[in-house]
């Protein structure tokens, strides 16, 4: 994969000041291969159907990703075929995997949740100008039977394959 486009994009973002550090994968991989495979973080990526200067106006990190501050690395580049902008985020201090990851998920401390939610929100805001809110107040009642589903919908944007 060519790094030319990526270079331009990185430049745009870099111009906006360093809320988060951007890493260029030296091997030209996209998303760039992680630096320390031992406690690697995966890149979480969304494609936003908007040009890069709208996703990151003035080169800044789009909200609400900016709020994650130093905890994450952020990368932007034009998507191929005129599909907009690829926005990638990775946890700077690695993400727990295996048993630890599962435990973190259950105890609600999995930092990837914040990353996923922020990515989905940044995409929605850039594409539609708002973050679609679930119906409120809900008409459904919480029961023992639906508590697993209740849990899943409470974290509807924080989990998944992203």
């Amino acid at each position: 994969m060519k790094l030319v486009n990526w270079g331009t994009a990185a430049a745009v973002v870099a111009a906006g000041g360093a809320v988060a550090r951007r890493l260029l994968g030296g091997d030209g991989q996209w998303p760039p291969r992680s630096v320390a495979p031992a406690r690697a973080s995966r890149w979480h990526v969304v494609t936003i159907n908007r040009p890069i200067d709208q996703v990151a106006p003035g080169g800044g990190i789009p909200e609400p990703l900016a709020q994650l501050g130093d905890a994450v690395e952020v990368q932007l580049r034009p998507a191929p075929g005129g599909r907009g902008t690829e926005l990638a985020v990775r946890l700077r201090h690695g993400e727990s995997a295996g048993v630890a990851g599962g435990a973190a998920r259950i105890s609600g401390t999995d930092p990837r949740r914040a990353v996923r939610a922020a990515l989905r929100q940044a995409k929605q805001v850039a594409e539609t100008g708002e973050v679609l809110s679930p119906d409120a107040p809900p008409t459904a009642r919480e029961t023992l039977l639906n508590s697993p589903l209740e849990y899943a919908t409470r974290h509807g944007r924080e989990e998944g394959r992203l």
Binding site: G129, E130, T139, G160
Partner: protein, 389 residues
């Protein structure tokens, strides 16, 4: 307000629930004038889509009057008579721009469930479980319509509520099947299922130039309706050898296009029905795909199969060998309504597309549980039950 809620497998009840509110600037609130049962609801009722909570409001095919608009709504104002697409789509993501509206990236507030289940999350649908966003349904006095400029369409003056109602779901679904299956002039088209969706697919096939359209079901009252109102040919699979008939009627070639409009609770007179039903009840297979198998088997070499029926998970005995060796094209989708609704409303205004015959039972919302009983169990020659909240 009053609404029809899901209360458990095969249990629905009219209840008092909180009124919907404007929550996003692109929302509108619509007072529902008509809301109709759909075959898709039966899959929820039967517990085949296990993402419902007690108290969820059902219904996704509706028409009404705008009573409130958010500050960013441009196309609609209070008092407009609108029909609303059953799928919630933003109109601005890549999928919406491609016309794949039901695949919208931004219409579902719970993407995690379907992303995990299916790999990626489709858009949201009203009253269609938390897997598809958990938005309250339309069997209610009022409903919140997100992205109102994208999903709500003004109904032309000459088109009645009774007719325009089906521009919400059944008509665009059927049209999509015929359109995306790639029907060409003089094609022979076979449609499995003679409910609202199958009938609309059959009518669309005719309007798109098919030479012969043959609808297959086992309920004579539905088949007779299709013959009378739509002018199509029919086959009752309980009394005829469908395969042999289709061969005869297509010069031995087989139908060029086969549209499946039955879904995951398909019925069959043969032993495969019991086989599939037992496996489904044991949760070894989640969906019965009997009509899909028939469509694939009967389709001509190099032909096209479109699956309109809703499926949720895994099917058994999928005839991949027939697909591969006959070189079939299989497509499927939840309906991309926003792509077709304005055109369908125009055709309705010109009397090219008649839909009101589908509403065999019209009743107040308070009688909705009876309406579902009639519709689910095909009693009193019911095709669709329509509620007037």
């Amino acid at each position: 307000m009053k609404a029809l809620c899901w209360e458990g497998v095969n249990e629905v009840a009219v209840e008092q629930v909180p009124d919907p509110q404007l929550l996003n600037a692109q929302d509108a609130i619509v007072r529902v004038r008509r809301s109709v049962t759909c075959g898709s609801d039966l899959h929820l009722l039967g517990g085949y889509i296990p993402f419902m909570k007690q108290g969820d409001v059902l219904g996704h095919e509706f028409l009404g009057e705008v009573v409130e608009v958010g500050s960013e709504v441009r196309k609609h104002k209070v008092g407009d008579r609108v029909v609303v697409c059953s799928f919630v789509s933003c109109g601005r993501c890549w999928f919406c721009e491609q016309g794949l509206f039901s695949c919208c990236d931004n219409g579902n507030t719970n993407p995690a469930i379907t992303e995990t289940l299916w790999g990626f999350a489709p858009g949201g649908c009203y009253g269609y479980s938390h897997a598809l966003g958990g938005l309250a349904g339309s069997h209610a006095e009022y409903i919140r319509v997100p992205f109102a400029d994208q999903g709500a369409f003004a109904v032309p003056d000459g088109v009645s509520d009774e007719r325009a109602l089906f521009a919400s779901d059944a008509a665009p679904t059927g049209w999509m099947g015929a359109d995306m299956a790639g029907i060409r002039p003089d094609d022979v088209v076979a449609v499995w299922g003679c409910g609202g969706v199958g009938q609309m697919a059959a009518r669309a096939a005719m309007l798109l130039g098919a030479g012969r359209v043959i609808v297959i079901d086992r309920f004579d009252y539905r088949l007779q309706m299709a013959e009378r109102v739509l002018g199509v040919e029919t086959l009752n699979y309980e009394r005829t050898d469908v395969g042999a008939e289709l061969l005869e009627r297509s010069g031995g070639r087989g139908p060029d296009v086969c549209i499946e409009a039955v879904g995951m609770e398909a019925h069959s007179p043969g032993p495969q029905f019991i086989y599939d039903q037992i496996k489904q009840q044991l949760r070894i297979e989640s969906d019965r795909s009997i009509a899909v198998r028939d469509a694939i088997y009967n389709c001509r070499k190099g032909g096209s199969v479109f699956i309109l029926g809703v499926f949720g998970g895994l099917v058994d005995k999928f005839p991949l060998g027939a697909v591969m060796n006959k070189g079939l094209t299989i497509r499927s989708a939840q309906q991309h309504g926003q792509r077709y609704i304005p055109m369908l409303l125009e055709r309705m205004a010109r009397d090219e597309l008649i839909t009101e015959h589908l509403a065999t039972h019209v009743m107040p919302l308070s009688e909705a549980p009876r309406g579902y009983d009639l519709f689910k169990n095909k009693k009193e020659d019911c095709v669709r039950a329509v509620f007037t909240p």
